[in-house]
Symmetry: C2
């Protein structure tokens, strides 16, 4: 028998009616002769409610305790879903991160999975049960409860699918699949039937919130067939495939935007070897992800260094920079959180010329100023004024003719 | 340094403001030079909310999953309280039943503590931390999450106090201590400064909801000094003492009532050896507690057997009886949930005559009919019509002159 891993996010289990619908959906797969492992997130809104409680007590609660608190959200939803499956006459069992043995490192609120012990899961599957796992959470070797970061239930699902050698991993969400752009911004955005891991990674990293980046990385690494589907319809969704399996090679797959960005500029920094390393090492030690980096030659033997981080990390990054300033001369530190990043992504880009030029001129026609540029083999990103985000996404989407053909 | 165990119930941690107050209260004890272990219940109302969610999904959800669900309530409150203590500048750490190692048997929803591993608690105390434990929950040897039954956080607290050899265990609650009767029913009920374990056990078993019976049993067995105090005032509360330490021996300590009772009568049951055993064994196997039992000789070689159970257990008890009926002849099964039990409790009763007579005549004067009677060395209980409960408690309280002297 083949194992299928299904992951349902917070909106899919947002209330008890939706939980019952998820149970029915699971049963349909069981009746097709598969063994099913389900990974669930906390009920929609519950994580925010728990965070609000913590904030009433402390503006910066200890991260260990925050993880103890937040991990209860998934524990509630696995128990309720197990009840709903049982109610339909099928045996089900819920397992917490601790009960499964999802072993992580000790970085609270952003832990990484070290290993998954699949013994308990296999035992329960062999007993004919639907196995329902808490996403997002794990446990350290010392029995401490950890969480894997927001959206990381996808990662739990793919990691579990990899450890079980599952037939496929299906991520159920509140949209129909991966689109050429955010359908809330671009009305004629088109659903993609296929996308490569590389493209999906870029799009996830660039702010398309459908899949958690680490889940795509893991799926690629362990060759787990991955699909994104709607929780509410029966459609096929979008399949994430290897580049070699891509049926039709398109130049540009999609346009994304990310407004959760902030820019930090270090003006007049000593221009000597090791300076940039010192800055970014200090930031990395606090587990803050840096996105774009640009360095320009300045004046009088100094340089200007700009980089972007998530908006939520801005104040702690500035704190780190102030500490670094005790060792390294920096004339001025400037910050700007009123920015966004607009990107085009496509595996075909590498073999086509003029993609960047086309993007830049589309922006220029609309008088949108480009503050920073970063490129890879399969993406081009521009940092712009945040107020111009939606216009920028629309014009770039139009310029590459990505929309549905409207008859 | 001496260890003090403090237990705070759901109303004491009902919102974040109250949680902050509990944190302050803990700090005051720390500053007196004690090590403090805190046991907390779920925030008031949260257990009911979780049960309501489960009931939306299933009228009888699997008990294993119900325990997975309900145990999240305490996990939320320990994390929040640990944050509140940290916010005051003291180190704190929360521990779940699993993290402590509160090992229980496998009877979901009503598990018993088998052992407590105090190693982790001692380690954290030695590090100078306030240790905050989830009450009500434990874990089986197979890593399954269990709960100990409603109100059982008291039991967790006393068991932990016993395992640590704590100086004392303080149960904080929303009343000022143990009263001669429920102050909501009897206006002139008086707070007791002392009460013996035996009396407290009878009163807890009889429906005085201040302390969980098993906690009193444990305190007696392991000689843990136990006190009941108000969460909101600084008063001394009531100390539960050994009989030999009782300063003044009173005849009757209090009057209690319990409306959560149902009576089952088996009319015309075979009158031969082993029949009652078969009935009560079948009920016991389902972990249903039977309270009062009365057997009368019937007619034609049959007997009548009546017993009481908790109202919530009535329907499952009837189911069990229907199964037993396949093996044993029972002419009729009658049930009545419109009953209550009124009791007087007092360690001095054993050496005084006429207590029962005084109680019965107090009831008779008010035309309250007694349906069943049960006595022990330190209590007399009468089953009466539920509608007459408050009147009965008041007249019995008056007849033993238990009230405050009103000047």
């Amino acid at each position: 028998m083949t194992v299928i891993v299904k992951k349902f996010g917070g909106t899919s289990v947002g209330d008890t009616t939706k939980i019952k619908n998820v149970a029915k959906r699971i049963i349909r797969t069981i009746e097709l002769g598969h063994q099913v492992v389900v990974v669930v997130s906390a009920m929609g809104g519950s994580t925010d409610r728990l965070i609000a409680l913590a904030e009433e007590i402390s503006i910066s609660p200890p991260e260990r305790e925050l993880d103890v608190l937040l991990s209860t959200g998934e524990q509630v939803s696995i128990a309720l879903l197990a009840m709903a499956v049982s109610e339909l006459g099928y045996e089900a069992i819920s397992l917490t991160g601790n009960q499964v043995g999802i072993l992580t490192d000790g970085f609270y609120s952003n832990a990484r999975i070290v290993s998954i012990n699949n013994a308990r899961i296999l035992t329960e599957l062999d007993l004919g049960k639907v196995v329902i796992l808490a996403g997002f959470q794990g446990v350290t070797i010392d029995d401490e409860i950890t969480t894997l970061g927001r959206g990381a239930s996808d990662t739990t699902a793919v990691a579990v699918a990899a450890s079980l050698g599952a037939e496929r991993c299906e991520i159920y969400t509140d949209v129909d699949g991966i689109f050429t752009a955010d359908p809330r911004i671009v009305k004629n955005a088109r659903k993609l039937n296929q996308i490569t891991h590389e493209e999906m990674l870029e799009m996830a990293g660039l702010g398309a919130k459908v899949l958690h980046s680490r889940s795509v990385e893991l799926a690629q690494k362990f060759e787990v067939p991955l699909a994104v589907r709607s929780s509410f319809h029966q459609g096929e969704g979008t399949i994430i495939v290897k580049e070699s399996e891509m049926m039709e090679r398109v130049v540009v797959s999609g346009v994304t935007s990310n407004t959760d960005q902030a820019k930090i500029s270090l003006i007049g920094i000593e221009d000597k070897p090791g300076v940039a390393a010192k800055v970014f090492q200090a930031v990395a030690e606090q587990k803050i992800n840096i996105d774009m980096i640009i360095q320009n030659i300045g004046h009088d033997g100094t340089a200007d260094l700009s980089f972007t981080v998530s908006e939520k990390d801005l104040s702690s990054t500035v704190d780190i920079i102030e500490k670094v300033r005790r060792q390294i001369k920096i004339a001025t530190v400037e910050t700007d959180s009123n920015i966004s990043k607009v990107s085009v992504v496509g595996i075909g880009m590498v073999s086509h010329v003029g993609i960047a030029a086309k993007m830049f001129s589309a922006l220029a026609i609309e008088n949108i100023n480009i503050q920073m540029i970063s490129t890879s083999e399969i993406k081009i990103s521009c940092v712009i004024n945040q107020l111009q985000t939606e216009k920028a996404v629309q014009v770039v989407h139009d310029s590459f003719d990505l929309g549905r053909s409207v008859s």
